[in-house]
Subunit: 199 residues, 3 copies
C-alpha cells in the first residue's frame, strides 16, 4: 500500500461521508443514505471504467472500497452532527479526494491506450461525476454546473501533468505535482472566491 | 422454461406496468410511457450487466423481455384505470418481481466470479434500480430512499442465501428460500408499516 | 469522409450547441455548459455503445467529436444570442442530427449481431437519449416524454429501413431513405403539430 492508495482510500471515505451527509439533510432513511454514499464515492470511477470498458468496474473487485463506504455511512449515522460541524476538515479531505481521483482516472485512461486529451477529461469525470449523480438522484441541479471552479481545477491539474510529461518528467513526479496543484488551486479558488463566468 | 423463468417474466411484466402507470399519472404521451416502462423493467438488470461487463446486456439478446414490456404498455394504454384499481394485485406481482430479480442478480454476479458481498449488493441493485431510474427520469426523488424497507428486504434475502449456502444447502434450495423470505418480509413490512430510521 | 460522416459531424455540432444553449438558459457557468453540451451530443451514442459492449465508447477513440463539441460550446459562449435567434436553422440541423444518429445507431447494432427490432430501438436511443440525459441533469422532466413525436419518428424511420431491406434494397439505399423519411416526418410533425395521445 503506497501513498496513492492511502490518498485514494481517504478520498473514498470523504466522498462517502459527504454523500451520507447530503442524504441526512434530505431526510432519507438509512438505506437511502447508503445508496447516496455509494454513488458519490464510486460514481465517477464507475462511469470512467464503463466508458473505457475495464469491466467488472473496480470496486466490484476490491472490497476495501465497499467497507470504507459502509464505514462512512456508519460514521454519519452515529456522529452526523459532529461531522457536519467539521465542515472545514471534510472539505480538505474532499479536496484530496478529487485531486487523487483525477490522477488515478487520468493514468487508468492512458493505460487503456487512449489519448491525453481524453485522459484529462476522464480524470475530471472520475473526480466529479460521483457528485453529479448524487445531486441528480437527490433531485437537485448538480452543484458543479454553477458553483465555483470545482471541476475546472481537475482539468487544470491534468494539463499540468501533460505538460510535465512532455518536458521529460517521470509519470510519478508529474502525478505528484498534478495532485499538489489541484489541491493548491482548489484552496485558492475557495479563499479567493474564484468563479467561472456564466454561459 | 422453468419456475425462475416464469417468475422473471411475471416480474418484468409487473415492472413494465408499474412504469407505464407512473408515466400515465405524469401525463406523458405513449412514447414516454413506453420509455418509462422499459427503464423500470430492465434498468436494474441493465446496470448490473454493465457493471459486471456481461455485454451486450441481457434484454438485447432475449426478445421475450422486449415483447413483455410492449405488452405491459399496451395493457396500461387500454386498461389503465382498471389496472390502477388492482393496486393490491399489482403490488403482489411487483413483490414477486423484486424477489426474483434479486436472486437472478445475485446468481449472475457469483457466476461472473465476484464475491458474495458484492453479489448481495448487485442482487438488490438488479431489483430496485429500475425504479430509481424511473423516478429520476420522472423528476422525482426516488421513492426507495425514504419509503419503507423496499430495498432492505432484498439485501436481507441475499444474506439468507449466503447463510444457507454456507451451511451446505444447494444453491437451488437457497434460492427458493431467498425468494420466499423476500416476499414474506416485504408483505410483513407493508402490513406492519416497518420503516427504517431517518439518517 | 463520406456523406454519413459529414451529417454525423453536423448532428454532433448541432446537439452540442443545443446543449450549451440549454445550459446558458439555466445560467450554468462555462464548465456546466461544456458538460451539458457533451452529454447532449454523445449521450445517446454512449448509452448504445455501453449496452452493446463496443468499448471504449466511440468518442473516446475519435477525437473529432471532442473538438466539435468544444467548438459548439465556444460558439454559444461567443454568440449565444445570435444562435438563439437562429432557432429555425438550429432546428433543421437538430433534425438532421436525430435522423443520422438513428441510422448510425441502427447499423452499429446490426453489426454487433443483434436483431432488427433491437436495432430499431437502439437507433432511436442513440438519437434521443442525449437529450434525455441533458434534461435530467438540468433537473427537468425530459421533453420527449410529453412533447410531439420527436422520438417516434426515429422508430418509424427504423421500420422504413427494415421494410426496404426485406424487399431487397441495399443497406445504403435503405439508409438514405431512412434518413430522408425521418427528416420529412419530423418537419411534417412540427408543421402539422402532430401529437401522440397521452397515456
Amino acid at each position: 500500500m503506497n501513498l496513492i492508495n492511502i490518498l485514494d482510500y481517504t478520498g473514498t471515505l470523504a466522498f462517502a461521508i459527504s454523500g451520507a451527509l447530503t442524504a441526512r439533510y434530505k431526510r432519507f432513511d438509512w438505506f437511502g443514505a447508503a445508496v447516496i454514499a455509494f454513488v458519490t464515492a464510486i460514481g465517477g470511477g464507475t462511469l470512467r471504467d464503463v466508458l473505457i470498458g475495464t469491466l467488472p468496474v473496480g470496486w466490484l473487485r476490491h472490497s476495501a472500497y465497499l467497507w470504507l463506504i459502509v464505514l462512512g455511512v456508519v460514521l454519519v449515522l452515529m456522529a452526523g452532527r459532529t461531522l457536519e460541524k467539521m465542515r472545514h476538515t471534510m472539505h480538505l479531505f474532499d479536496t484530496i479526494g478529487i485531486a487523487v481521483f483525477s490522477l488515478i482516472g487520468l493514468e487508468k485512461t492512458l493505460a487503456a491506450g487512449l489519448s491525453m486529451p481524453v485522459a484529462i477529461i476522464l480524470g475530471a469525470v472520475s473526480a466529479v461525476f460521483g457528485g453529479v449523480i448524487r445531486d441528480t438522484l437527490c433531485n437537485e441541479t448538480p452543484l458543479i454546473f454553477s458553483r465555483d471552479v470545482y471541476a475546472t481545477v481537475c482539468l487544470a491539474g491534468g494539463v499540468v501533468y501533460a505538460l510535465l510529461l512532455q518536458r521529460g518528467f517521470s509519470s510519478s513526479v508529474a502525478g505528484l505535482l498534478m495532485v499538489g496543484s489541484i489541491i493548491l488551486l482548489r484552496v485558492l479558488a475557495i479563499r479567493l472566491r474564484w468563479q467561472l463566468p456564466q454561459a
